[in-house]
Symmetry: C2
Subunit: 463 residues, 2 copies
């Protein structure tokens, strides 16, 4: 947790961006896995953490826009709780730690929200994503649980996005730390990646490192020799010599700040010629983004420039053809890169995704596309100093997609399907780093960069 002033300042800034009414920020509760008391590791709501700091189930906060007061809701522990969970500070003390004077038992939330509703005051809340909180919102506001998301406050969403998008110095320091844990995870994976080792074994070790040095992984680890499957959470294979192992994994600190990196490395420790060809193109894409990303530039334009580097590279290998600008404008390259260049990162690995990607990654100036590939770009808008984003180009050979496009004769003026056929057993490559947008450009987050050049990767794999 940061000092109480940090939270007071954030709530004041939020209040100033809003017109009137009360802002209701619900914390998360325990999430049952297979019965009510067997719960997953607790994960607080990120906006609650941002404005009210505390990481424990059963809390809520209210920020009153009109009277300038904040309220903290939670229940004090009883003797049973002390026996089972040990002594805990009082809710009054917890509230004081984040600069809130007024604290109440949780049940009072209904009374206070009810009073505001009776006074016809606007109740602003963020889109719920936990079903228990949807049911709580139904109980508090009378809106049907399944409809609560549609009643979230757009004014509040936009205000929260504008604050959380620009990372404070204290947040950047935490993200740097999370990236250091990410470094440990990825270098461990590089050392363990040998033919005959199971994907699951290595993925488990990464889970362990994330838990030993933070709270848990920031998302379900992708670790696979089938990197062509973009969100492959299957770890059932035994690594085979000659394949590529793609690892997309990150850590979440105890205070929830994240890391998110991807490396793709040759099982056996030596890139083949064909792997070097494709890897070199993806690395050039990655570097292109680093070269271009700076305040004032839209990330959509960076994405499109990167797609041109990819297209040029694939033309060099005979997989694509024709005019590069036209190919990218048509979306032909999306056969190989069906996802976007990156996303915001912070307290969430896809930062604020619960608030709506169209508000986090887009604005009036830059609107989401509907074109296959570009439509999956999560972050398109103009970069600002203090943004933390991922730079994660990739190049994949997805047999089912290749077959589909070939059958439909899509983009035949830009794609050499005969050549592409030869790569259907290739797999996929993605390279991802987390970067901070600075005054004049960007910098990597974390103390050391995870090995990425051919020499660096082969060196650590053959230590």
């Amino acid at each position: 947790m940061f000092d109480s002033l940090t939270y007071q300042k954030r709530r004041k800034a939020l209040r100033e961006k809003m017109s009137n009414g009360i802002i209701l920020i619900l914390g998360n509760n325990e999430a049952p896995a297979n019965y009510p008391d067997n719960t997953y590791k607790f994960r607080q709501d990120s906006s609650f953490v941002y404005f009210f700091g505390h990481s424990h189930p059963g809390y809520a906060g209210i920020i009153d826009i009109d009277n300038g007061k904040d309220y903290f809701f939670g229940n004090d522990v009883d003797m049973d709780d002390i026996i089972w969970m040990g002594p805990q500070p009082s809710v009054k003390e917890l509230a004081a730690q984040v600069g809130v004077e007024k604290s109440y038992p949780f049940d009072m939330l209904k009374e206070i929200v009810g009073k505001a509703i009776a006074q016809r005051r606007k109740i602003h809340f963020l889109p719920p994503y936990r079903y228990d909180n949807m049911m709580l919102l139904e109980d508090l506001t009378g809106i049907r649980a399944s409809m609560t998301k549609q009643h979230a406050s757009l004014e509040l969403i936009k205000a929260v996005v504008s604050l959380r998008s620009v990372k404070e110095e204290c947040e950047i320091a935490e993200i740097d730390k999370a990236c250091n844990v990410g470094y440990e995870m990825h270098t461990a994976a590089m050392r363990l990646c040998k033919p005959g080792v199971s994907e699951q074994y290595i993925a488990g070790v990464l889970d362990g490192i994330a838990s030993s040095y933070g709270r848990m992984v920031s998302f379900a680890t992708i670790l696979t020799q089938n990197g062509q499957t973009l969100h492959n959470h299957d770890h059932s294979h035994i690594l085979q010599e000659g394949r590529l192992m793609l690892t997309d994994a990150g850590a979440e600190l105890m205070n929830y700040y994240c890391s998110d990196h991807t490396r793709t490395i040759p099982v056996g420790g030596k890139f083949t010629g064909r792997q070097r060809d494709i890897y070199g193109i993806v690395l050039a894409c990655h570097d292109k983004a680093l070269e271009l990303a700076r305040p004032g530039v839209t990330y959509k334009s960076v994405h499109l420039e990167v797609c041109k580097v990819l297209t040029e590279g694939l033309k060099g290998l005979g997989l694509m053809k024709g005019n590069t600008d036209e190919a990218v404008a048509a979306g032909a390259h999306a056969l190989f890169l069906p996802h976007g260049l990156g996303h915001m990162m912070g307290l969430d690995v896809h930062d604020m995704e619960d608030l709506g990607q169209c508000y986090v990654g887009y604005d009036e100036e830059v609107q989401p596309s509907t074109q296959f590939g570009l439509a999956s770009l999560r972050m398109g808008r103009k970069l600002q100093k203090g943004f933390v984003i991922t730079d994660e180009p990739g190049c994949y050979f997805i047999p089912a997609l290749i077959d589909k496009w070939k059958a439909e004769k899509l983009h035949t003026n830009f794609l050499n399907f005969d050549e592409i056929e030869k790569y259907k057993d290739f797999g996929g490559i993605r390279l991802e780093d987390d970067i901070l947008i600075t005054e004049n450009g960007s910098r990597f987050l974390g103390e050391k960069r995870i090995p990425i050049t051919f020499d660096e990767v082969e060196a650590i794999m053959n230590e």
Copy 2:
């Protein structure tokens, strides 16, 4: 997964125990951590796994009691799913794998349940514990989400409990495997337990082992030098020489079968005299349970015999006094052992806890107690061959509870508070193994027993 016949047999057995109507078994969905698409590791509902085998979000099953037919619900994947998650078998194929002929898209569930309701047939469902399933049940049946639990079918609960309580050979083999992973976890903890190491580091390593060899931990690991706090999920301390580290941890295999073991070991690798005194008593309690547990004996009676061993031991140290039987009948020993001797284990670490402890651990013959301590005994009823239960006595010195009882002058005829005061810095000890009730007694589950004697523990810690 087991062969299709296993699931067919189970559904047939369930059908035969029920009177009429349809049985609705909902699978689990993804559980969002901090936004809809960032989900915890998937955890299927155990009863769904038991009757329909498959471990994937978005499934449901119906067992029609009257017409003898089974139905499997789920959606086939589309091209987008294949790109992001790889090729998947069809729902028809999945259904066939578990011996179900009829499969439908998930949306058909509403039509089929609706038709049964219109025909005034009874809809049996188990108590929901996931809030999204409560909302789904509201949508299917019209019962308010928050009230669905109260409308669960007691007939179905009792039928499922009677089946799942007695483990089949194929299940026992899986629990043995889970216990082998537990062995790796606990022996790793013993090797890492040194002064200056953080609890969190070791707990993280255990998370990693559970993930490398199974799905995840079977419950949030308790690993603490403050063992007097019974469900202490705080791992924020650095281990100190002279303290005891209590580790209560288990693994869950990919198919969800569990392990659950506890060991308490001296930080630094050598038990002190006082630690030996208490540890020896707890070990004697543990052995007493092993000696008594067999078919036909109630676990409540075993629990009470164990409490007598505890009381005898504490009398020997001058912490308790008076008549042992009277002390145990009065519940005086519960100051040191406020929990029960054990619980059922299987697909859930507290097996079937979602169905209601009073149906799983009790029956018409043995009813739950309201006495402090005994009330926390999860398993009281008569043991049967094929039951898998935990044997987990403990002895704790909980300062807040000691202060409370002393102030209230509770059980002063059995408790020597002056002596007890001297142990307020002791911590707590618990020793737990998983046992199978056999024809004539019981056996440990897992290939090797985790070190438990003084010599075994000190040997592995000083390797």
